[in-house]
């Protein structure tokens, strides 16, 4: 049985982060894009928690709490914007969102 160590967590975190990044790049739907950013933040949370445990230091977990809080408020703001946008335009597609350019 393999011992699950810090490195595994970190790798997991990195993989999740990469997934988040890819999602950020690929998604054309605003809502899914927000999901991708949540994945990003949460991947970091995993790593923080693991490292915090590794060092036996609470700072990391403190960070995690703050990240969670911030992610929550971000979602609030983001969804608010999304709703307004949807009300006005009837879609949440990124490709329709390019009146300003150049």
């Amino acid at each position: 049985m393999m011992e699950i160590g810090l490195n595994h967590y970190l790798v997991l975190s990195t993989i999740l982060f990469a997934i988040g990044l890819i999602g950020v790049m690929r998604r054309k739907n605003l809502l899914l894009l927000f999901f991708a950013t949540e994945i990003l933040l949460n991947s970091v949370n995993i790593a923080f928690a693991a490292i915090s445990h590794y060092y036996g230091d609470l700072t990391g977990q403190l960070f995690v709490f703050f990240v969670i809080a911030i992610a929550a408020s971000e979602v609030a703001v983001g969804l608010g914007l999304l709703i307004v946008w949807h009300k006005r335009h009837g879609n949440i597609d990124l490709d329709h969102m390019s009146t300003m350019r150049g």
């Binding site: 990044l21 790049m25 894009l33 990124l94 490709d95 009146t99 350019r101 150049g102």
Partner: protein
């Protein structure tokens, strides 16, 4: 005596300014009379100075004020009246007084009358500065001043394209020579530390031969321009576009002799560099022959006289180049008298003939223009150097000089030229005054000039006849300054053989000219006769194609090159580079602004791309740091 110096110098200026006041007003006689009177005053003052100098007086030297002073350079407005300059002053003031008076009549009907006198007096003023200055810079002021006035006067009839063209040509060609002069002056300054004649010449004896040679060459280049020596000679013939009194004064008597004056003035320098002197003499001899040959076939009365002037200038340079400065100066003086006379006579003829210049279209004018006929004939005799006219004394002397100095080639060239001179002079006289009255075909009714014009010319006539008799007085005076070399042939026999031989040769030439042209068979050439299609004739009448060559190979390329410089180089290379750089910056903005597509997805991709680039840079850097040793080894293995 200083007061006379100032009067002599500044009266022409006052006259010029006075006439200038009337510049814009309609023609008024007073604008001609006052400058003439002032010039006469100047002449009188010069005479006083001459008498004073002749009486063994010290030379008069004044320093009016500082002109330029910078660093070690100190240039005053200084003027000196010595034996050399007083000679020139006499020539200048005398001839110009006469020309002024003559012009009152000649320019009678011209609406630029007032302007003309203003220019003419200004010219005299510049010429006086030129001859009286005690330093090279002052000389240069006069030098350029006469050039300016010459430009104004040649282009006096500025509505004529040919006149303005000739004026510009004269100015520019003189400028080329002036550059040489200027460089000569610089060289004088940096090698002697001063531009005052006295100190500079005194310092020259201690200078390196090479430096002196260069000074001599550059100063002579200046002289070549003003005195229209080959290859800068073309302007003189074209300058005949100016009113005839101008040609008499500027392009015969005074300005063109400035070059000779310069060489004479710089005699201490040229004494030190005889090889340059020899070059000057050779060039002079060449020009004498060259110009005379062109005069042989020319069909423009004034141009013929102009070429003769050129030819005579050649004589003067021979004398000056061979060290016979006083002879050069003497010939200069004598030449001024008879040549001015010749020109003024030509002016009368022109007036009579309504500005017709082709002697072939005249003929038989002696009946209507007796006075002019006599004067021009005598002037031509003097020019040809027949005893006892002025030309004999001065010109034969030059031949003697060449002979005594054992430059036999020069001597023979000059001798031959003397014959040519006689021929073309009398060809002109014959064509104008003798033979059939060809002008009648053209419906012209010639008339003699005003009396007072002829009277005004008479002093010149007198001098053209008797100037030779002043030879010894002159010699005594001027040799106080110039090397007093007397040129005596070793044996009296040789002397007589030479003199008589020369005279005979000249007379023969005259006779030949008369025979050929003073008859009724002379026709107005129409380009069909055999002689006109002769190669020689063509070459000569086209002035050896030199003006053509200049036009084709200098002027045109210059114009085209200028155009290329502007349109191709300046606009398409220099400016386009600047605009191109700006354009590249701007267009790169235009091209890359698509990066800002406005699409959020793209923007996010850019951010991630940024991170990836940074990460890969980090990896590269990390690897480089890690394997720096190996990389170095590989690189050194590759010979980097």
């Amino acid at each position: 005596m200083e007061i006379y110096l100032y009067i002599a110098l500044f009266s022409p200026l006052v006259g010029s300014l006075f006439a200038g006041l009337f510049g814009a007003s309609p023609r008024t006689k007073i604008a001609g009379i006052v400058p003439s009177l002032l010039l006469f005053t100047s002449f009188l003052s010069s005479t006083v100075l001459l008498v004073y100098i002749l009486g063994g007086g010290e030379k008069v030297h004044v320093e009016m004020m500082t002109w330029m002073a910078a660093g070690d350079l100190y240039i005053p407005f200084g003027f000196v009246v010595d034996q050399v300059s007083v000679t020139m002053m006499m020539v200048v003031t005398l001839v110009s007084t006469i020309v002024h008076i003559y012009s009152i009549g000649y320019m009678d009907h011209d609406k630029g009358f007032n302007r003309f006198f203003s220019y003419l007096s200004a010219f005299v003023f510049s010429m006086m500065i030129l001859v009286m200055s005690d330093n090279f810079a002052g000389l240069f002021i006069g030098w350029e001043g006469v050039g300016l006035c010459s430009w104004l006067l040649i282009g006096f009839w500025y509505h004529k394209e040919s006149a303005t063209w000739a004026a510009n040509e004269a100015f520019i060609m003189n400028r080329i020579a002036d550059l040489g002069m200027l460089i000569g002056i610089f060289l004088v300054y940096w090698s002697t530390g001063t531009l005052q004649y006295e100190q500079a010449f005194a310092a020259m004896s201690g200078l390196d031969k090479e430096v002196l040679t260069w000074i001599g060459i550059f100063l002579f280049i200046g002289a070549m321009g003003k005195s229209a020596q080959f290859p800068l000679h073309t302007w003189l013939a074209d300058a005949m576009e100016g009113p005839t009194p101008v040609s008499a004064l500027i392009h015969a008597a005074t300005m063109v002799t400035a070059g000779v004056y310069l060489v004479v003035r710089a005699n201490p320098l040229y004494d030190l560099i005889p090889h340059v002197g020899l070059f000057i003499a050779s060039l002079g001899a060449f020009v004498a022959l060259f110009a005379a040959s062109m005069a042989l076939v020319n069909r423009d009365m004034k141009r013929i006289i102009a070429y003769s002037t050129l030819s005579q200038l050649g004589y003067m340079f021979v004398a000056a180049g061979l060290g016979a400065y006083w002879v050069a100066l003497f010939h200069l003086m004598a030449h001024a008298f008879f040549k001015a006379l010749l020109f003024l006579g030509a002016g009368n003829v022109m007036h009579a003939m309504h500005n017709e210049l082709d002697p072939f279209k005249m003929g038989g004018l002696r009946k209507v223009m007796k006075g002019t006929f006599i004067m021009m004939t005598l002037a031509s005799v003097a020019l040809a150097g027949i005893y006892p006219f002025a030309g004999f004394f001065s010109k034969d002397l030059i031949l003697e000089v060449a002979f005594v100095e054992q430059h036999y080639i020069i001597y023979s060239v000059l001798l031959f030229t003397a014959g040519l001179t006689a021929f073309y002079s009398f060809r002109l006289v014959a064509l104008i005054f003798h033979g059939e009255e060809r002008y009648k075909i053209f419906g012209i009714h010639p008339h003699e000039a005003y009396k007072f014009m002829l009277v005004a010319m008479s002093p010149l006539l007198l001098l053209a006849i008797i100037a030779g008799s002043f030879k010894m007085t002159y010699f005594e005076m001027v040799t106080a300054m110039l090397p007093a070399t007397e040129y005596h042939l070793h044996s009296v026999v040789t002397y007589w053989i030479m003199t008589i031989g020369t005279q005979l040769f000249v007379i023969l030439a005259i006779a030949f000219a008369y025979k050929k042209y003073a008859n009724n068979k002379v026709k107005v050439p129409d380009g069909t006769s055999k002689i006109e299609n002769n190669l020689c004739y063509k070459v000569l009448s086209n002035q050896y194609y030199i003006p053509y060559i200049y036009e084709e190979y200098l002027v045109k390329p210059y114009r085209e090159l200028s155009s290329v410089f502007w349109k191709e180089v300046d606009m398409k290379v220099v400016d386009a580079t600047v605009d191109g750089i700006a354009g590249i910056i701007y267009s790169s903005g235009e091209k890359t602004r698509v990066m800002q597509s406005g699409n959020l997805s793209t923007m996010l991709k850019w951010m991630v791309t940024g991170v990836i680039i940074l990460l890969s840079l980090a990896v590269v850097f990390g690897l480089t740091a890690r394997y720096s040793g190996e990389i170095k080894a590989i690189l050194s293995g590759l010979g980097v």
